[in-house]
């Protein structure tokens, strides 16, 4: 019980401080497609990042990318994007952050959705309702979720 209270208190504190310090989607600085500064100012949680990568309602990265390490937990990985095994060897943390936030800056024609962007869409919808988006349109992942995913990806070594 005491543990539970502490956990909740800490999570609450992290969430609010992280939110206040988030880099706005329109302020992210890309250098050759990489982003060197943390989007939330809070270190990523690789374990949570692993969940986001496999969760249909969050990143759903496995819809297009396969990750061998994750296959036992989450079945059915797509094969449209490059496999993520060894991503942590091939890319630096800043490059991974830039790719997750907006892959089209590094790779012009990339099919990959931009997970930290709020502008420049054609007929953006309100999530999966088919209705038009309103002013509440948010990024596909939060700054902290992106940091978590990046933290997980850096652990993927061959």
């Amino acid at each position: 019980m005491r543990n539970f209270v502490i956990t909740v208190a800490v999570t609450g504190a992290l969430a609010s401080s992280a939110f206040a310090e988030d880099v706005l989607p329109t302020d992210v600085r890309y250098e050759d497609g990489a982003v060197s500064v943390s989007l939330s100012g809070v270190a990523g949680d690789a374990a949570n990042g692993r969940k986001i990568v496999g969760d249909k309602k969050q990143g759903n990265c496995v819809a297009c990318h396969s990750v061998t390490e994750l296959k036992e937990t989450v079945p059915f990985h797509g094969e449209i994007g490059p496999m993520l095994d060894g991503a942590g060897d091939r890319w630096s943390e800043g490059e991974l952050r830039g790719i997750v936030a907006n892959a089209k800056i590094m790779f012009d024609e990339s099919m990959m959705p931009s997970f930290y962007k709020t502008e420049g869409y054609i007929r953006p919808g309100n999530a999966y309702t088919g209705k038009a988006a309103d002013e509440t349109l948010t990024t596909l992942l939060t700054a902290q979720q992106i940091e978590d995913v990046v933290a997980y990806l850096t652990t993927l070594k061959e």
Partner: protein, 281 residues
């Protein structure tokens, strides 16, 4: 170009592609009608694709078998319902479809040419639009809602009598501007996921997207009986679902945009057999 990419990929990913490639199989309907499920791409696609393939080739063994025999095809139940309503007089003129068109068999080949330019109306019409024109102008009956049960059943019945004939929609002449609009829509990356039809169905067909096997998105099999919702599904409703899944604001079934997109996508399958009602996931 596509061929070179495919070949290069194949050498790298032999195992997964062997699993995900379209099958090497032949569809013979009711053991008598040879269906064209793959053929040379129409001329307007020659820079993009070598071959066009029916979605039938991307489905599992059981789903394919279900479509090969009308007794196993649940879509034929709805075709029978439409065959009954073909004979029933409706509206102020006391006419049925058969009053003007006789047997439904006389409609063989019609489905293969739709969507189609209508000179009198000065517009491209889908088969459902034409059916509704008959209802309101000749029968004095009410129009059916777009992709709603009576309309989709009748479209399936008209498709059924054209099965085996090659899709052959005209894209030039007066239909060209609608075709161009449809092409533009096909390549536009919409919604918050910024995905176009082409991203999945031209660039990535044959691959898995999560547990789904991406086809070329051909519509020669529409209306489609989907195992997922156990009913007939119209092309426009399918378009709407796809666009929604890009987290975009959709267009409406029957809208000018979807009529244009239907014409364009149908033209990508010129040469494939009309298959509707087909069976898909």
């Amino acid at each position: 170009m596509k061929y070179v990419t495919g070949a290069a990929l194949a050498s790298l990913l032999t195992t997964s592609l062997a699993f995900a490639d379209p099958v090497d199989d032949t569809l013979i309907l009711n053991e008598e009608t040879d269906m064209i499920t793959r053929t040379a791409a129409p001329a307007h696609l020659s820079d993009t694709l070598d071959e066009v393939m029916s979605g039938w080739l991307f489905r599992g063994t059981e789903t394919r078998a279900m479509q090969a025999d009308d007794f196993d095809n649940p879509g034929m139940i709805f075709v029978e319902q439409a065959q009954d309503s073909w004979m029933i007089a409706e509206g102020t003129e006391g006419k049925s479809c058969s009053s003007c068109h006789n047997d439904m068999d006389s409609m063989a080949g019609v489905k293969a040419t739709y969507p189609k330019w209508n000179e009198e109306a000065g517009e491209v019409r889908t088969l459902q639009m034409q059916m509704n024109n008959c209802r309101t102008e000749r029968m004095g009956a009410e129009a059916w809602g777009y992709d709603k049960t009576p309309a989709i059943n009748m479209e399936a019945a008209l498709s059924a009598v054209s099965r085996g004939l090659p899709v052959n929609v005209a894209i030039d002449g007066p239909a060209q501007s609608a075709w161009e609009l449809g092409k533009e829509l096909y390549y536009t990356r919409t919604g918050q996921l910024e995905l176009s039809c082409a991203n999945c169905h031209e660039d990535s067909y044959g691959m898995m997207i999560r547990a789904d096997h991406l086809s070329q998105g051909q519509i020669n099999g529409f209306p489609v009986y989907r195992l997922k919702n156990t009913k007939l599904n119209g092309v426009h409703s399918r378009f709407k679902g796809c666009v929604r899944d890009t987290r975009a604001e959709t267009y409406k079934p029957g809208s000018a945009e979807f009529v244009a997109l239907e014409l364009y996508v149908a033209s990508r399958g010129n040469g494939l057999s009309v298959e509707g009602p087909s069976i898909r996931n």
